[in-house]
């Protein structure tokens, strides 16, 4: 018992040191301006082949190699004397999910045993050459809602065997398979669904490793790589025992509600493990409809504790954002917790990056995929947002270190309540819009645009922003610089649901079919040289040559060209 506790503590300590060490390194180094940009032009060459990307970086044809995930890339780049590598914890988790609806995985003991045979260190070293962070909690370390004080299941096959023995799952020495004490029969074969080796070689290999470790303690587990869509379909209809997948998450922990609330235990719902726990449901509801942050924090902690006890998932690791920069060519790239230095959600790098040779001029920034549609309403891939994120802006920004909200297009905001119906409570978010913000064509950004955007999203039932508009009842604009967004329900998180990528009313009000609208292909109705893809952001889309490059130029009308208060 003593030994076990010691190991638990040691693992926890290591994870803590790791996390805090990286965070501390960031905090001391980060110095950034809230104004910019400091280059005149960004050329984004589109290069898809990994080898061509590497060589482009080495030859200085791009100043950044964003989102490094492959160890072979990292190993090569880190030996490049001109390269500076930034690393940030990400809002990401990779997990092994259990189907708790059917035996034997409905038994907590079996789930515990499997959790104990998962060797995170081996996985991370062998499959990722060490470039992953072990994660056990259901909220990644990068989140302010991360709770490290939860039950832990360190790698310990001996302990796993003990747990099973104690619960009566005796090993049949002949077959090497344990006997289910309830039925007296050997345990049935269980399968881990993974994508194929071709699509996701590491996931497939991971499945094989975990299955092997489980077999070693007498659990008949087999990995089953399959076509990705088939796998998702099987998960949707609960035809699985276990599967391996990753989530790309966000700053706010409301995803816990989506993943584990019993109301989402429906076919094609997010609660794929099928966990139904009244105590957990209460905590999740409290989290989802929290009136304030403290309640949310408390509820999130509680939910993580329950989840670690119940083990619907074994959370395995979290991917840090690793980006490489040509430090001999540029400076001013800002590491940001949860998103990395090169991510589009990190507007600080966009505003601060500058050439070593001096302000202004052109930098080249690799785009690893086609940005495709460049329609901010239908955009779905991160690569589209790599471009769009520099054109469109939101009401608030996120501090790269503390993750706190920073007023951006809104100078300030109030969150209040109203009565959507007698006796019911709803949230009202009031945006106080910054004066002097202009669209890239020179028109002012006003509350009319805010009202238009929200109504546009709601009227067209835009799927991408469904979770944001679904509870919005109405928008009021008392004056040009105030917009009140009324929600039918009450939640602390509605502040974030009231923010959208804002659309210029004078362009989008003529759009009939937004799904086929390609704003970058249509010239601006009045201003020559612009397209309809205009926002308020620091860069203007000048040119997109599919397959070749995107050209962004500095927005001369940008509201934050100079230091501001």
């Amino acid at each position: 018992m003593q030994l076990k506790r010691w190991i638990v503590l040691a693992v926890l300590a290591a994870a803590l040191v790791l996390t805090t060490g990286i965070q501390a390194a960031q905090q001391t180094n980060v110095r950034y301006d809230k104004w910019g940009p400091k280059v005149d032009e960004i050329i984004m060459p589109i290069i898809k082949e990994p080898e061509a990307q590497r060589i482009a970086f080495e030859r200085g044809e791009t100043v950044v190699l964003p989102g490094l995930t492959r160890p072979e890339d990292i190993d090569r780049i880190k030996r490049n004397p001109n390269a500076d590598i930034t690393m940030n914890l990400g809002f990401h988790m990779f997990y092994l999910a259990f189907n708790m609806r059917r035996a034997p995985l409905s038994d907590l003991v079996i789930r515990q045993a499997i959790a104990h045979v998962v060797n995170r260190d081996q996985i991370i070293n062998q499959l990722f050459q060490g470039y992953m962070l072990p994660l056990e909690s259901f909220v990644p370390q990068s989140s302010p809602f991360y709770n490290p004080n939860v039950d832990s299941y360190p790698y310990n096959p001996t302990r796993a065997r003990e747990i099973l023995d104690k619960a009566g799952y005796k090993l049949d020495p002949k077959s090497g398979v344990r006997i289910d004490p309830k039925t007296g029969n050997p345990l049935r074969k269980m399968y881990i669904l993974t994508p194929t080796y071709e699509v996701a070689p590491t996931s497939a290999e991971l499945g094989r490793m975990i299955a092997e470790a489980a077999r070693a303690i007498g659990l008949p587990v087999e990995a089953q790589p399959m076509d990705f869509p088939t796998m998702l379909e099987k998960i949707d209809i609960f035809e699985f025992d276990m599967y391996l997948l990753a989530w790309g998450l966000e700053r706010n922990p409301t995803f816990l509600y989506d993943f584990f609330h019993s109301s989402n235990d429906v076919k094609a719902g997010y609660n794929t493990p099928g966990i139904r726990n009244a105590e957990l449901d209460r905590a999740l509801e409290e989290l989802y409809y929290a009136p304030d942050r403290a309640t949310a924090q408390r509820a999130a902690n509680k939910a993580q504790e329950i989840l670690s006890r119940e083990i619907p998932y074994v959370v395995l690791y979290s991917r840090p954002y690793i980006d490489a920069w040509r430090k001999d060519m540029v400076t001013g790239y800002i590491p940001m917790l949860g998103y990395g230095a090169a991510n589009y959600q990190n507007q600080w790098t966009t505003l601060n990056i500058r050439r070593r040779a001096g302000e202004g001029g052109t930098i080249r920034w690799l785009l690893p995929e086609e940005p495709k549609n460049l329609n901010v309403v239908t955009a779905s891939s991160a690569y589209e947002f790599e471009v769009l994120g520099r054109i469109y802006e939101g009401m608030y920004a996120i501090d790269p270190v503390t993750m706190q909200d920073i007023p951006w297009l809104a100078e300030s905001w109030d969150v209040g309540t109203w009565e959507p119906a007698p006796g019911k409570k709803g949230t009202v978010v009031t945006w106080h819009i910054r004066k002097g913000v202009k669209w890239q064509d020179g028109m002012p950004f006003t509350s009319a645009d805010v009202k238009f955007t929200i109504e546009f999203m709601k009227k067209n039932e835009v799927p991408l922003y469904q979770s944001r508009w679904k509870d919005i009842v109405k928008v009021e604009t008392p004056d040009q610089y105030t917009a009140k967004v009324y929600f039918g329900t009450q939640s602390y998180w509605h502040l974030y649901n009231a923010d959208f990528p804002w659309l210029p009313k004078h362009i989008w009000e003529d759009v009939k079919d937004y799904t086929n609208f390609q704003p970058w292909l249509e010239p601006h109705p009045t201003v020559k040289g612009l397209t309809k893809a205009i926002g308020t952001g620091p860069f203007i889309l000048k040119e997109y040559k599919p397959g070749e490059y995107v050209r962004l130029v500095k927005n001369p009308n940008y509201w934050a060209l100079k230091p501001w208060k």
Binding site: I22, E49, R76, N125, D227
Partner: protein, 491 residues
């Protein structure tokens, strides 16, 4: 000479005996013709070499094609040590240190003995005497000398399996260090055990962030380059110490496995997961031959059946099959294979089937036209007059006569099948579990052969495909020349 083949089976009456001896003598005659064609013989010799390679694969290489981390990732071939870029690069070094191989370099109230364990074999046992409170702990230092005359490696690792037998109040510490020639000690792992512990295996890996932290290195540094920075004599050191007053402490060690993953490996180096490229090349010959042979046989079988039926029965059936062949001939083969392989799943059997399904048309046409001329011959007429059924006539009269044609077609079809498979694998649509040459090329392209300028990863599989295709083409052409005299005259 050539006549003997075209004559086959002409007299209908004595068909049964004639066919057999005819086939045999035909083959002998064919061989006599074939061996006089130097290109054909060269092709045959190459093919035989490939066949040997495919059959003898397990004897040509000690590894399996998917065995990982035989050396470091992207290790260069051993002969690359003569290139300036790889001068002094380390080979893979593996040490399994068992009882009797340890030197007890320092000890305080400690001794070294041996024991045998049923499961784990020979054990090294460190026996630590009890010490009084306040006294220095009992310690033992076990060393193993390693001579390292190479440039720094990128990774090292070690595996220690141990168990501790001690009183409840004992606190036993184990640590593993590497001491460099200057005497600097790098402790890369330690652990403390309270009381006894069952068997445990500690895996130490230089890529592990905890090792980096211990050495004060950052996330992107390689401990291996720091630790093995100089050439000379190193020591691997295992330290055991304990403070226990109530009784002796016995630390049992089931060997220590220490590895330095080399940057030079084998005939052709390693790929991006440290698998042996030579092994993949050798096993690739198997796959390619199997795919080529199976797909060609399947395609030619389909083609022959359709050609026979179509040519012999004629009429509507013929019309139908020839239309179908037209459609298939008009289908862009590679694109449809790409789409269908994604649809059917990336299984090797599917690839064989698909290639066969889209390559039977030429055989069908050739067999059909041959059948058309054969069925006018007297012996077929006679058989029909004698009341023989259609199937019987096709099988016993027509098939043996078109057989040489079928053989030639099969040989010529093989390179087509092999090339399709290679192209699909290369595009990422091949069977991911099977090491084919196409997949080697794809890996080379995706995982670093270009930026590392590792031409030894790219050239061998490509050349292997080329030579195999060439050999089939040479053989096929020679066969055609023998069977088709008109062709011979032209060249």
């Amino acid at each position: 000479m050539n006549q003997s083949i075209t004559q086959l089976g002409t007299p209908p009456a004595r068909r049964a005996t004639r066919t057999r001896t005819g086939l045999l003598s035909g083959l002998v005659a064919f061989w006599a013709q074939f061996r006089r064609r130097p290109y054909g013989m060269v092709g045959l010799i190459i093919l035989i070499l490939y066949a040997i390679m495919a059959l003898a694969a397990p004897w040509l290489t000690p590894y399996k094609p998917d065995e990982m981390y035989l050396a470091d990732r992207l290790a260069a071939p051993v002969w690359a040590r003569y290139l300036p870029r790889f001068k002094g690069a380390p080979p893979t070094l593996r040490y399994t240190i068992g009882p009797g191989q340890w030197d007890l370099t320092r000890h305080e109230n400690a001794s070294l003995t041996r024991a045998t364990d049923q499961e784990r074999g020979e054990l090294t046992v460190v026996q630590l005497s009890p010490v009084l409170p306040g006294e220095a702990p009992a310690t033992a230092e076990l060393s193993f000398p390693v001579h390292y005359p190479h440039n720094p490696p990128n990774t090292f690792d070690a595996k220690i399996t141990y168990a501790v037998e001690a009183p409840v109040d004992a606190q036993t510490t184990l640590s593993y260090s590497i001491i460099d020639p200057q005497g600097t000690e790098y402790t890369v792992w330690d652990t403390t055990v309270y009381g006894s512990s069952d068997w445990n295996t500690a895996t130490i890996d230089s890529r592990d962030f905890q090792v980096k932290m211990k050495l004060g290195l950052s996330f992107f540094d390689d401990p291996a380059t720091t630790v093995f920075a100089t050439k000379g004599d190193y020591r691997l050191v295992l330290r055991v110490s304990s403070t226990a007053a109530s009784g002796p402490v016995r630390v049992r060690l089931a060997g220590l496995q220490a590895n330095i993953l080399g940057l030079l490996h084998g005939l052709l180096g390693t790929d991006h997961v440290g698998s042996d490229l030579w092994t993949q090349l050798v096993y690739g010959a198997r796959i390619s031959l199997i795919i080529g042979i199976l797909a060609a046989i399947a395609a030619v079988a389909i083609g022959t059946v359709i050609g026979l039926i179509s040519g012999y029965l004629g009429g509507k059936i013929d019309e139908f099959f020839m239309r179908v062949a037209d459609v298939f001939l008009s289908v862009p083969t590679l694109p449809i294979l790409i789409i269908l392989s994604a649809f059917l799943g990336k299984h090797i059997g599917n690839i064989v089937l698909l290639v066969a399904a889209f390559s039977w048309m030429t055989t069908a046409r050739v067999v059909r036209s041959q059948t058309l001329s054969l069925k006018q011959r007297a012996f077929v007429e006679a058989a029909r007059a004698a009341g023989a059924g259609n199937t019987y006539i096709m099988l016993t009269h027509l098939l043996p006569n078109v057989f040489p044609l079928v053989v030639a077609n099969t040989v010529l079809m093989m390179p087509v099948a092999i090339l399709y498979e290679a192209a699909l694998s290369f595009l990422g649509l091949g069977d991911p579990r099977i090491p084919t040459w196409g997949r080697m090329l794809q890996n080379a392209r995706a995982f670093g052969a270009f930026t590392e300028l590792a031409w030894w990863w790219l050239v061998p599989p490509g050349l292997a495909i080329t030579l195999l295709t060439l050999s089939f083409t040479l053989i096929g052409n020679a066969v055609n020349e023998v069977l088709n005299p008109r062709y011979r005259e032209r060249t």
